[in-house]
Symmetry: C2
Subunit: 346 residues, 2 copies
């Protein structure tokens, strides 16, 4: 089969890779029908994080089960499934607590699993899914093509935006600021509104992203950054927001997020942190902070119900669709911010 | 009257200062019967924070009301009162929400108040208490001397330790680690047990403080620091604690605190932050963080009930009592860690 490899900084290639087979009784083998490129895939692509090359890449997919191991009970061949961006067992104490990102038996797509079996990443034709019962979520026996992007968005960005909102305690009537207009930030707008937020300020300076933020329910757009952006939020909200959803993780965005929460407010952080938190400012204001790597698996069933019923349409974040063999162009488009998020079809 | 001044780094002096009088209709004038030295007073004393000298110091006191302004209704001359370490109005939206540390009309003892009237600090003979109804808490018409240290501890350290525990969500059955064996850390042990914690690990390497931690209800003592301390906690608690109470604020203690929380755990931070939080570690584990400058005023009535009934005895953190004219020796004793906390009587 074909699989995407990051061979060096900035160098994406589609290469032949061994066809996956069931290696453990808890495995499923899935034919990928759609995968996508994540903002976090850009970190190694840009050389922003230490990376061992070549690296198998991609951690989001929707597919059809082709084969299962003897112990798999929740999916069967022919089922359409969606996977979260991490592999988890579903049975350890952290999985039972809804924190599958801390699974005691979990692993990462593209990194060989804890039993030593080779694990594929998701930007490819096929994939071996370890711990299939814990990891995969059954969508049904078929999935209308119009809903495929929405379901695919649940594998990471929508669940992650939702985690930001849940972590920041967004509920009916909340006033919210979303820092970051990437796919996760835009999904955070959608998630905040879905949870009942009354006012959602999206911080974005790109017209196409501002437009999508408004479609997702943002009530206000703030185009400024840094001190200017903070002042613009203050004009709208006075002391600041009840809940701030930090969906970037850079030094600038962490500072922005801390500045726009009112005293006693809450920060939901889902941007992989590459900066330092202005702890003194949070401390003076008694601003709470929660979040982290999103336990998307915990949220998938609930969000999938809404997606299949057409109540939320997170798939609109995909503004570029490419065949898998143009994956390198997909990375370039996201790196250059020509695309918010790229959907790949094998 | 006499008032303590920090005249330069390491230079404490008792100097003559104008006798306070009622300047605003919301003022009370209080004769101080006991004040004390705070760990945070050591920051400017040691030159660790930018400071304008001379600085009036002290932000904790118990006293007797001598005079009140026309608008004061909750205390009257002759009443014994205790004050939190910040001045607050009691009526703004933050005060009503129990976050008096973000009071819109508040100020700091020893810094002239928002109306421009001179404000005294607390290590002195007398004090003008602005916004008396919002700030002062009436203890009664008398206070047995045996309970005075316990009531005085409510002005800061016990309320701050309690805030750490509340912020970290300590409740019945919780497993807790307390980082820091200063007066606040020791009070945090007491507060965690008062809230029902089942297991409280106190990190302390000083025998006298270990002893007091045990008297306050610590079930385990860990003497190690850094990697050694983290390993010792892991031996006791496996993955870590439900709740970690960070009562120091240094780089080392913030790292220690982040390391000993289990995935999904909670950090209650009350140590004034002088370091950076290891955000990546918290992010991977989805550890929540709350806390900050403690709204001691919000907790005072509840804690005072317990103190007056003899149910909690936080006053045991005072292990040195001096007359006010030996205040300089009190600072030296705390700076050299010869005393946990010093009580001063005018």
């Amino acid at each position: 089969m074909r699989a995407t490899l990051l061979e060096d900084v900035g160098k994406i290639a589609l290469r032949e890779s061994p066809d996956p087979v069931v290696q453990r009784p808890t495995d499923a083998v899935v034919r990928v029908t759609a995968s996508c490129i994540c903002g976090s895939d850009l970190h190694p692509y840009r050389g922003k994080v230490p990376t061992a090359f070549p690296k198998r890449v991609g951690h989001e997919f929707v597919g059809v089960v082709e084969d299962i191991g003897d112990e798999v009970t929740t999916v069967r061949p022919g089922d359409v499934v969606v996977a979260p961006f991490l592999i988890s067992c579903g049975t350890c104490r952290y999985c039972r607590a809804g924190l599958q990102t801390s699974c005691e038996n979990g692993s990462v797509w593209g990194t060989d699993d804890r039993s030593g079996a080779r694990s594929d990443a998701c930007q490819g034709d096929w994939i071996r899914a370890p711990l299939a019962d814990g990891t995969l979520v059954r969508v049904g026996t078929e999935l209308p093509d119009a809903l495929l992007p929405d379901v695919l968005a649940l594998s990471d960005v929508m669940g992650t935006g939702h985690h930001a909102a849940v972590s920041a305690g967004v509920g009916p009537g909340s006033t919210v600021v979303v820092v970051g207009d990437g796919a996760v930030g835009l999904c955070a707008v959608l998630a905040a509104r879905r949870l009942g937020a009354e006012r959602v300020v999206a911080m974005s300076r790109t017209p196409s992203r501002q437009k999508l933020a408004a479609e997702f329910g943002a009530t206000d757009i703030v185009a400024g950054r840094g001190a200017e952006g903070i002042a613009q939020v203050a004009e709208l909200l006075g002391d600041g927001a009840d809940a701030v959803l930090e969906c970037v993780g850079s030094q600038e965005s962490l500072e922005q997020a801390a500045a726009v929460a009112h005293p006693g407010g809450r920060l939901g952080c889902v941007g992989a942190p590459l900066g330092n938190l202005p702890l003194g400012l949070l401390f003076m204001k008694n601003v709470r902070l929660a979040g982290g790597v999103a336990p998307v698996r915990a949220y998938l069933p609930e969000l999938l119900d809404d997606v299949l019923a057409g109540r939320v349409r997170p798939g609109r974040i995909f503004d570029l669709e490419l065949p898998l063999d143009e994956v390198a162009e997909g990375y370039r488009a996201m790196d250059e911010r020509r695309a918010i998020k790229v959907l790949l079809r094998p």
